[in-house]
């Protein structure tokens, strides 16, 4: 066998690999998150157009917060300052807080970039980044159902908590004081090197506006 033959053979194999990868890419992703399993990676642009990958934050605790500012359940936690408190509290402890909006363009919770920046100011929202998932692909990948729907990922990229923000499904800010916050319990446990007590719960809120 000589060079030409080998080169054509390699080209053939190359085409094969290309065709195969194309085909693999065609497969739609299924919601494939599970507690205590690696959280799937994703890449989304933030409000400033900067791309964030989950894998960029390996080595840090990451919180994913599905958000829709106009949803009354989200308002409950923003008008009371509860969500902002969690955001600043944990980002100070070097955790990364990613708010993700999976509302489709034209649906509630989706804003043009300029409006969004203003809205974030009004809400006094201080996540590490606000990520825009217009296509809903990351939302569907994580099986995000409600706003809010919370996910806590540890330093190794393993999903440690998924579900509701706390144990009181309601829209009343007055309920927050008497509620157990699952996200802060999970993060506090992880930071203290302890196992997470409540690893999952049924999220409550408005449906994600895919």
């Amino acid at each position: 066998m000589t060079k030409t033959f080998i080169i054509s053979a390699m080209l053939l194999i190359g085409i094969g690999a290309l065709a195969f990868s194309q085909e693999a890419a065609k497969e739609t992703a299924i919601a494939s998150v599970a507690i205590d399993q690696p959280a799937p990676d994703f890449a989304l642009k933030d409000v400033n157009g900067k791309e964030h990958k989950l894998s960029d934050y390996k080595g840090k605790y990451v919180v994913l917060e599905w958000v829709n500012y106009d949803c009354p359940f989200v308002k409950k936690h923003y008008s009371s300052g509860n969500m902002q408190g969690l955001q600043s509290g944990f980002t100070k402890k070097d955790a990364v807080w990613l708010s993700i909006c999976s509302s489709a363009p034209g649906k509630q919770g989706h804003f043009p970039t300029a409006d969004l920046k203003k809205r974030m100011e009004t809400e006094k929202s201080t996540p590490s980044a606000y990520l825009i998932d217009e296509s809903g692909s990351v939302g569907k990948l994580y099986g995000a159902k409600t706003t809010p729907h919370m996910f806590v990922i540890d330093q190794k990229g393993v999903l440690r908590y998924a579900g509701a923000i706390d144990d009181t499904p309601s829209t009343k800010a007055s309920d927050i004081a008497s509620s157990t916050n699952y996200v802060s319990s999970a993060l506090d446990a992880l930071i203290a090197g302890k196992p997470v007590g409540t690893k999952s719960s049924t999220p409550y809120g408005c449906s994600v506006k895919y």
Partner: protein, 709 residues
């Protein structure tokens, strides 16, 4: 007494104006109007008054059931009642499914009447006017959601006797009650849950067979346990039916009791106006099968490495690898004339080729799995495009061996250093051998590979390295032992004959690949592949006729360029245009005198629930050892007789094309490759038996004997 008279007067006046009082004006909020109504104009101490919370919704707006499904919140009421009064929880009618994109909520549209029975204590002083006061809050959603709340009140006179009578609401209340889901002792319900599915089996106790609606849906009382948007599969049975409900993968609670409503979208045909069956049943948790291996048991990492090495050795004997190795054998013969150093070099490079491709395959598999893809060993042969490339390559090699075109002699001028390209050839032979060999998981290898993928990357790579070393070991040993090489005959005319024979062997491999493709992508793809092979034949012929040195350089270069371009174009065209067939091998297949059911996890759960023994054959068209096992073991009349006498259900999980359900099922047994044979004994509490990967009729019968014991 005076006081009492006074109360009586008021009571009387109240009764007169009761119509106005019993129906306090509805409260209007965003998209909702809500009011409190009663079924009686007055009540006596000790009576039960039913109070209704009537919610009227604008079109397309919803309120929610107690389990709101994927999103939402049920209306709540807080009664402010005097001491001694007891209000029952709100009675919710049968909910509807409300889809929103990929999500599904459970709730109501248009109007809703929520009832509560309030018991008036018998020592309550009559003739007083009693006001029901309720703090209500709710969530109403169309796409966006708006919470609302209101304080509603309703006056009901409490009188001593005679004056209580039904209001205009009584009729509506009765209607709502008939539409409430009810418990029915005629149906017994058993619930069992696996990791992925909940199975409800409804058995009728009466002889009379009732018509089962085809549009049943189970609404669980508890939130978050089922996959709300997934289809629930109904299967009718002799005395009832069963419903298989996919569970929510995020649910981590153990299901000990299942309760909820079974609702028919339309009515239950011959059961009057019934719309829902209310039930509660203890759930048995079918622990995910911890299979007992029939031959091998749990393995440690060093055992895995050892098995991988032995598996690699045996890979050489696999029918998939033989044709490729024939090329290796040919090069052996050619090398026999060369110096020992060169031979060793060639073999080292061959080994490297094998190892590198194993590493790439393993790394690719690990990466893709980390990304959430459901893949298994041999995944490249699940791609129709890859099959086309591979068969094209094999076909060209065959034509080359048959002498249609001679790249070996004619192009050395361009080739430059012939020894280096010879080494590259050895490398390619190693790569090709590996790529073709992977789908044939030899014995010992299945568990080692399955194990390796659950291990840290370093151990996985060690296992794959052992596999590659095992595969190339025979050649290294053969060539590093000179006295063995003496048995290889000297080059001569016989070599030409051997080359041709090997060429036909490769053609046979192509025939196998064509068959695999026909199963994967249907008959159209075969036309595509055969046409491609025809074009390749033409290219080879052009190369043979005008590519040789006898032809002047200009023509020669044109011919080579044209042939290579045409070949590449046709192959890439074909591989990009081939699409997998929609559904493959659905329905029962009858072969070997056995009836094979297609694989379905729901059916497995069902059969386990019934306690029927079940044999699952995980197979693929491209897995030759599977085909051999099927012929040898399942083709045996003794095995067939035994299977039917024990009434074992046989099921075939065909993994020829990608199938995530099968990949998942394999993973449950710690495997990612075929063949795999699993025998469920059908006895409760017994783990399924995993049969070895090389079957004989004896092994199968021995395993089946355990069913009788």
């Amino acid at each position: 007494m005076k006081k009492r008279m006074w109360y009586s007067c008021i009571a009387f006046a109240m009764v007169l104006v009761s119509a106005a009082l019993l129906r306090a004006e509805p409260v209007h909020r965003d998209h909702v109007s809500i009011e409190l109504v009663s079924d009686q104009s007055a009540a006596r101490p000790g009576d039960t008054v039913t109070v209704g919370l009537k919610i009227q919704l604008e079109d397309e707006w919803h309120v929610y059931w107690t389990n709101p499904g994927d999103a939402g919140l049920a209306p709540r009421v807080k009664w402010n009642l005097p001491p001694g009064f007891v209000a029952s929880p709100l009675q919710f009618p049968v909910p509807k499914r409300i889809p929103a994109g990929p999500l599904v909520s459970f709730g109501y549209d248009k109007e809703l009447l929520l009832l509560s029975d309030i018991v008036i204590p018998s020592d309550f002083i009559p003739d007083s006017l009693f006001s029901f006061n309720a703090e209500v809050d709710w969530l109403v959603c169309k796409v966006e959601c708006i919470p609302g709340d209101a304080v509603l009140s309703l006056m009901v006179p409490i009188v001593e006797n005679g004056l209580a009578e039904a209001t205009a609401w009584d009729e509506q209340f009765r209607l709502v009650r008939t539409k409430q889901a009810v418990e029915d002792t005629n149906w017994s319900v058993t619930a069992s849950a696996s990791k992925t599915n909940l199975q409800l089996i409804f058995t009728s106790k009466s002889e009379r067979s009732s018509t089962i609606p085809s549009d049943l849906f189970f609404f669980p009382t508890k939130k978050g346990i089922i996959d709300n948007s997934a289809a629930q599969v109904l299967a009718k049975k002799e005395r009832g039916f069963e419903l298989t409900i996919p569970l929510n993968s995020m649910n981590t609670d153990t299901l000990t009791e299942i309760s909820g409503l079974l609702v028919a979208e339309n009515q239950w045909a011959n059961e009057g106006t019934r719309t829902g069956l209310k039930f509660s049943a203890p759930a048995t948790m079918l622990s995910s099968p911890t299979p007992i291996a029939f031959a091998a048991v749990e393995i440690t990492w060093w055992q895995a490495i050892l098995f991988a090495f032995v598996g690699g050795l045996i890979l050489n004997l696999m029918p998939c690898v033989l044709p490729v190795l024939s090329i290796k054998v040919l090069s052996f013969v050619q090398q026999a004339g060369e110096g020992r150093k060169q031979i060793l070099q060639h073999n080292a490079v061959f080994t490297l080729g094998v190892l590198v491709s194993f590493w790439i395959l393993a790394a690719g598999l690990l990466l893709l799995r980390a990304g959430g893809e459901q893949l298994g060993w041999g995944f490249q042969l699940q791609s129709p495009a890859f099959i086309i490339i591979l068969s094209s390559f094999m076909f060209l090699m065959a034509l080359n061996l048959l002498g249609v075109f001679e790249v070996g002699t004619s192009l050395t001028g361009i080739g430059g250093n012939s020894r280096r390209s010879g080494l590259l050839g050895s490398f390619i032979a190693g790569v090709t051998a590996t790529v073709v060999a992977t789908p044939c998981t030899a014995p010992f290898m299945g568990s080692a590979l399955g194990y390796s993928l659950t291990q840290p990357a370093l151990i996985s790579l060690a296992i794959f390295t052992a596999l590659g070393l095992g595969m190339s070991a025979p050649y290294v040993i053969l060539t590093s032992t000179p006295w063995l090489l003496r048995f290889v005959p000297k080059p001569g005319r016989w070599m030409e004959t051997l080359k041709h024979v090997m060429g036909f062997l490769l053609m046979a491999t192509v025939v196998w690949l064509v068959w695999v493709l026909s199963i994967q992508a249907g008959s159209d793809s075969i036309l595509l592949l055969l046409a491609t092979l025809l074009v390749l034949g033409l290219c080879a012929w052009i190369l043979g006729r005008w590519g040789g040195y006898a032809v002047e350089q200009g023509k020669r270069v044109t011919a080579i360029t044209a042939a290579v371009a045409l070949a590449l174009a046709s192959v890439s065209l074909a591989s990009f245009n081939v699409t997998p067939a929609d559904s493959v091998a659905s329905g029962m297949t009858q072969a070997d005198g056995l009836t094979w059911e297609p694989f379905s996890p729901e059916r497995v759960t069902e059969l386990n629930g019934q306690g029927r023994p079940l044999l699952i054959d995980f197979t693929a068209a491209w897995c030759l050892s599977c085909k051999v096992n099927e012929r040898v073991a399942f083709g045996s009349l003794d095995v067939q007789g035994k299977l039917s006498s024990l009434s074992v259900v046989t099921m075939k999980a065909d993994w020829t094309s990608r199938d995530e359900r099968i990949t998942k099922a394999l993973a449950e047994f710690g495997r990612n490759s075929v063949p795999l044979y699993v025998l469920y004994t059908g006895k409760t509490g017994q783990s399924p038996i995993v049969l070895p990967e090389l079957l004989t009729p004896g092994i199968v019968i021995e395993a089946l004997n355990k069913l009788e014991g």
